[in-house]
Amino acid sequence: MSEKLRYRDPELASNIAQKIRELTPGNRTIKFCHVCGTHEWTITHYGLRSLLPANLEVIAGPGCPVCIVPAAEIDEAVQVAKKGAVVTCFGDVLRVPGSQTSLLEAKAEGADVRVVYSVTDAVEMAKAEPGKEFVFFAVGFETTAPSSAVEVLRPPPTNLSFLVSHRLIPPAMELLLGVGDLQIDGFIAPGHVSAIIGLKPYELFPRVYRMPTVVAGFEPIDVLMAIYMMLKQLKIGRAILENEYLRVVQPQGNPKALEVMSKAFEVKAGDWRGIGRLPDSAFALREEMLDFDAHQKFGVRVEQGKDILLGCECHLVIIGKIKPDHCPMFMKACTPEKPVGACMVSNEGTCRVWSKVIVS
């Protein structure tokens, strides 16, 4: 059997599921939390929850980088576009609601907004049209931030600047531990963020919070194994940090990526949609890179936006406090075709992932 098939082997899955059932304590609810939209996709797409005992829950934390971009930062991108610059962004970002309009609506009103697959595309566009100003709206967690950093340091063409909205995952995980009634029993840490940052940033979870933490890959067996590994930690009563995703995640992460990120960006407090301001959770361009800062170039800064529309429960879905189908709007007023909240916009948003398999 090829490796890929092995990672999706139904027999192996049911074998692990059996062991999970044997290890799950019967006297209370166990709640594990992941913080990655791709993990939610794997869990939902392969129906992994149906393999778990009724008292073992896997909840989705703030793992969708597009969903947590605050409206104020969408507003800034819209303003820049309305000032005449070409705004380039990933496709998922286009429909994320701002306080008044999304980038897609701004485009419909005549702004030049273009979807790119990579920051490299934005660089190529700026080179091809030197008479126009281009802005790359840099959204994403630590997995995506190194590519922005590489282009900032290169340096970019003089007609390309950046709106940096990158966010860091470990501070958001720490926030979840402070949400009193969430009562998390373990973390499934995101494999591709970890490919960049390595294991060290998660060390505090077992050490300080006694929280089992397993870095996991994205195949169904990876996720089941992570659940199994956390249950074993609970059984022996010892929380440790383990790496299930050995084929990708090195303990030190990707040193080159970490180096370019630290040269291009500084860490500062950042606003997260539905969550609020988290200390040390965002990247901003370093002072010596401010020539490439679109805030400066276009004189745009929005301090506060309108993150959550009345009736939308995204702020509770984002921290795993409710499931998408507990929101009264889910698949009624809020659908993939006409999303109300950011969680329904991105392919990695929990509501959007659920919309493909669950119609409330």
């Binding site: 998922d92 990579s118 595309d121 995506t144 890959g217 994205f218 990708v248 990707n254």
Partner: protein, 72 residues
């Protein structure tokens, strides 16, 4: 959005490489963060290779699963 896809490196030219995602899907990606050789497997996210994938590590994962499941 942190989706990343494994691909095999077929040509390296400076910071760029042509990679094969399988089934004939070829694409140019930036490899400056991992500096792979032809034949290496890399994990590609948003046009950038973010990590090399090691066959030895892949086999280790499978061995880890076997070990964990049989040891209990």
């Amino acid at each position: 959005m942190c989706l990343a896809i494994p691909a095999r490196v077929t040509v390296v030219e400076g910071d760029k490489a042509k990679v094969d995602f399988g089934e004939g899907v070829l694409r140019e990606v930036n490899v400056s963060l991992v500096e792979p050789k032809v034949g290496d497997y890399v994990l590609v996210h948003a046009g950038y290779a973010i990590q090399k994938m090691d066959e030895k590590d892949a086999l280790e994962t499978l061995a880890l699963w076997d070990e964990i499941l049989t040891k209990q």
